[in-house]
């Protein structure tokens, strides 16, 4: 079985999905079912006081017994805020240690602040968290995050929510080649072919939210992403043919032609 192993735990799905930006929880659930994802990201936010009685919660639609929750630090702009958020997440989810660390640099680009990310990763690893870390596609930073003890490194393909696809496949390839921990593309995937290309490069998995949630038909796109991730993974494992400017080797026999 070709499993994705994160922090010692196997997952048959290599597609991780976010739970934001959907029309409602019914659509969230349907899209996640269609994606086949086992790991779903959630945000940690202040509870609405006074408006919560009887209000449905995400947890009812995505029971934590059925999915692996990946609490994230989206919206955090400092190491301190990120660490604080994930400590609360661990308490919220009964000691759950698998987390997504993301420290942003500015609200316009949502580009990661790698110095704050590194500072937070050091604290979190020391405190026993299994850290899947969102970062830039800088191979040196990716290696540093691995050396700190992160469980997976997750470079962006392009900016969060941009849907621009993989802007620097060469950097991703260098990161993948150097890494001994899983490399997942997180952010920037726009459509199925982007996901397939990332997997063909040798990524161990992909994390996405907007590409599915902002599609005209999120459920159909979730299904497309599932297939793209599987297809890209199989193509990577199969090993592609070499690219040649001139093939000069037809697929049909060159003898026995009718004169």
């Amino acid at each position: 079985m070709d499993n994705l192993i994160i922090a010692g735990k196997p997952y048959h799905s290599r597609l991780l999905v976010g739970t934001g930006k959907y029309k409602d929880f019914v659509q969230t659930r349907a899209a996640i079912d269609a994606s086949g994802a086992q790991i779903v990201t959630v945000a940690i936010r202040r509870t609405n006081i006074g408006q919560t009685a009887g209000e449905p919660s995400l947890l009812e639609y995505l029971p934590p017994e059925e999915f692996t929750y990946l609490p994230n630090t989206a919206g955090c702009y400092s190491a301190d805020d990120a660490v604080r958020t994930l400590r609360l997440a661990r308490e919220l989810l009964n000691g759950h240690s698998l987390v997504k660390l993301e420290v942003l640099g500015d609200p316009r680009t949502l580009y990661p602040n790698v110095t704050e990310t590194i500072a937070a990763a050091k604290v979190l690893v020391k405190e026993g968290f299994d850290v899947m870390v969102y970062t830039s596609d800088d191979p040196i930073i990716a290696k540093q995050l691995e050396d700190i003890g992160c469980s997976a490194v997750m470079p962006l393909a392009s900016l969060i929510g941009s849907g621009m696809g993989i802007l620097n496949p060469w950097n991703l390839q260098i990161i993948i080649e150097n890494a001994k921990i899983p490399v997942l593309v997180d952010a920037g995937v726009g459509t199925a072919s982007d996901a397939a290309i990332a997997m063909e490069l040798g990524c161990q998995g992909i994390l996405m939210n907007t590409a599915i949630a902002s599609a005209n038909n999120p459920i159909l796109m979730a299904s497309a992403m599932k297939k793209a991730v599987e297809a890209g993974r199989e193509a990577y494992l199969a090993g592609r043919m070499a690219k040649k400017l001139y093939g000069a080797a037809p697929s049909s026999p060159i003898t026995g032609l009718i004169d």
Partner: protein, 67 residues
Amino acid sequence: MQITINGNSRNFESNEMTIAGLILALELAGKRLAIEHNGEIVPRSQFDAVMLQNGDQLEIVGAVGGG
């Protein structure tokens, strides 16, 4: 007593309230929550034991949809 919850100041008639009592008063019983009390996370098992005091700061958080 006055307590700041998620950045908003609230007044309570009672001056003797635990975190568990506050959760009931806010109609949050049964919700999956994590609570920070004056900057320190309070384990769920301690909700009954921690007494609130005038001027306390609380953060009450939950999981919501997100990427």
